[in-house]
């Protein structure tokens, strides 16, 4: 297996882009990543496009080839990838495999999503899923975890709300975030509309439009193009267990994916300088912090309250603003997490820069089946 680097990144602002079509958003991120990498479009050997809802919301399919050609990439293999919120990271794992295996030298990954359309129904993985027919929607699964976490570990609704306050504070320092310069208070989070107890409206990440892109290159070649390559130490994708006894208190997928990733990277949670996780709802970040090994199981609520996950803390989480502060354009989200990681390791993040960041971890999770995450990804990057 060959070592693989990320040599270029690009990202549109996340938020409402009512007049910009999906393809154009993806293309703009791709162009930025290609220019950042210092390569020509014709040097790209393979492309992966990540998106979740285009078939559903804007009635488009096989979008990736149009996105890529807009950025001058044609003729080479292009794959369209859907894996819920992890689509962008799943595409990255495929791009990494393509290069690590020796089959290709340079790959591009683009994630894009357009959610600001006239009507977005409550998200559910399948109308025929028996749990969906019996009332499950995405927010319910996480409210059930929050209820269980509070019951078993004494986590408070204030601690959950602190996740949003922190991530909105982080987002206020990120010009690409939907909530740039728009922090919130604990009272505001607690007092917005109750969606599914204990999750209020501000405990849920907002829908957003946006795109993000990465250029990956075999490490042995990357010095031809850049002086600041970022190494991919591990790129892991796992699926859920789906057995007859779902556990709402832990994310077994996080534990399994991160254990594989730490082992491959030869690193542990104590080595990570800065991390992004799938904070679609406040409870998610509390649980990811535990299940990725940054604090003991059950301690996530008290950990966020201690300030350990804030910028300047022991392990800053979602310094980009996360999904809560940046917005959540599904197919773009996991690519954007990695874009933040690359920029943190390059020291390009301005006010929200984590001093001396050396190792970055991105976790993402998507969709539910029988009480487990269908898909979970962990990527570890090193300077």
């Amino acid at each position: 297996m060959r070592s693989v680097d990320i040599i270029g990144v690009g990202m549109t602002p996340f938020g409402k882009h009512e007049k910009t079509p999906l393809v154009e958003m993806g293309t703009r991120a791709a162009i930025e990543a290609i220019k950042d990498a210092g390569i020509k479009s014709s040097q790209i050997n393979i492309g992966y496009f990540a998106n979740m809802q285009a078939g559903n919301l804007t009635k488009e399919f096989t979008v990736g080839q149009a996105v890529m050609w807009g950025a001058g990439v044609n003729k080479v293999p292009v794959f369209n990838i859907e894996n819920a919120c992890t689509s962008g990271a799943s595409a990255t794992t495929l791009a990494w495999m393509s290069i690590a295996s020796g089959q290709y030298d340079i790959a591009i990954v683009v994630g894009a999503e357009k959610l600001n359309v006239p009507f977005v129904p409550l998200l559910n993985p399948s109308m025929r899923d028996i749990n969906v027919l019996e009332g499950n929607v995405v927010i319910n699964g996480f409210a059930q975890r929050a209820v269980r976490h509070m019951h078993s570990f004494g986590t408070t609704k204030e601690q959950l709300a602190m996740v949003d306050v922190k991530n909105r504070r982080h987002a206020s320092m990120n010009p690409l975030a939907m909530f740039y310069k728009k922090p919130v208070t604990l009272e505001e989070v607690l007092n917005t509309t109750m969606m599914a107890d204990p999750l209020t409206k501000l405990s849920c990440c907002p829908n957003a439009d946006g795109a993000a892109a990465l250029v990956l290159c075999a490490s042995e070649l990357s010095s031809q193009y850049t002086t600041k390559p970022v190494h991919i130490k591990a790129s892991v994708l796992v699926s859920g267990v789906f057995d007859e006894w779902p556990d709402m208190e832990t994310f077994e997928e996080d534990q399994r994916a991160s254990r594989i990733a730490y082992e491959k990277a030869g690193l542990g949670p104590e080595d990570v300088s800065v991390a992004e996780c799938h904070d679609a709802f406040t409870i998610c970040e509390v649980m990811h912090t535990e299940n990725l090994g940054f604090c003991p199981i059950g301690e996530g609520g008290r950990f966020v309250e201690s300030g350990a996950t804030s910028l300047g803390g022991k392990i800053p989480m979602n310094v980009s603003g996360g999904l809560l502060g940046k917005g959540h354009p599904l197919g773009a989200t996991a690519c954007a997490q990695i874009v933040e990681g690359v920029r943190q390791l390059r020291g390009e993040c301005g006010d929200r820069q984590v001093e001396g960041a050396k190792v970055f971890l991105a976790e993402c999770m998507g969709a539910e089946l029988r009480g487990d995450a269908k898909t979970c990804t962990v990527n570890i990057l090193q300077k």
Binding site: L122, E134, G135, N136, G141, A143, R148, W245, P246, M248
Partner: protein, 138 residues
Amino acid sequence: MSSELKPMLDGIFEVGPPPRLLGAHCPVCDQKFFPKPVVCPHCLGEVQGIDLSSEGTVYSYSILRIPNMMYKFPQPYASGYVDLDGDNIRVYGLFDPEKVSEIEIGKRVTLQVGQIGIGLDGKECLRYYFTPQDGGGK
């Protein structure tokens, strides 16, 4: 019970009385399932149809306060996981829409079937749900 109403999906439950969830059992793995899978996913052997327990304990729940228009559920409504007595299986289901405020972790519940919301064809239909047992709470 309105006899003209159909279950939201065939092969999931018996209307009764008494109502029953239609599960399955793999004799090789000694594992129960709900709903009945094509084969046992652990050994790919044939499974036998069985009735599951109609009583259990609430493991976790959520109360959705915003509208769920997909199936025109009541607003608010509660749903979540119930550990069925003696079956070693945790099933997802609605809770009694009239008793949302009584649902809590550890609450003892009993299976019911009644009209809640609409089905895939857009018509009113029957769903299974769990109702709290009087005095059976924690």
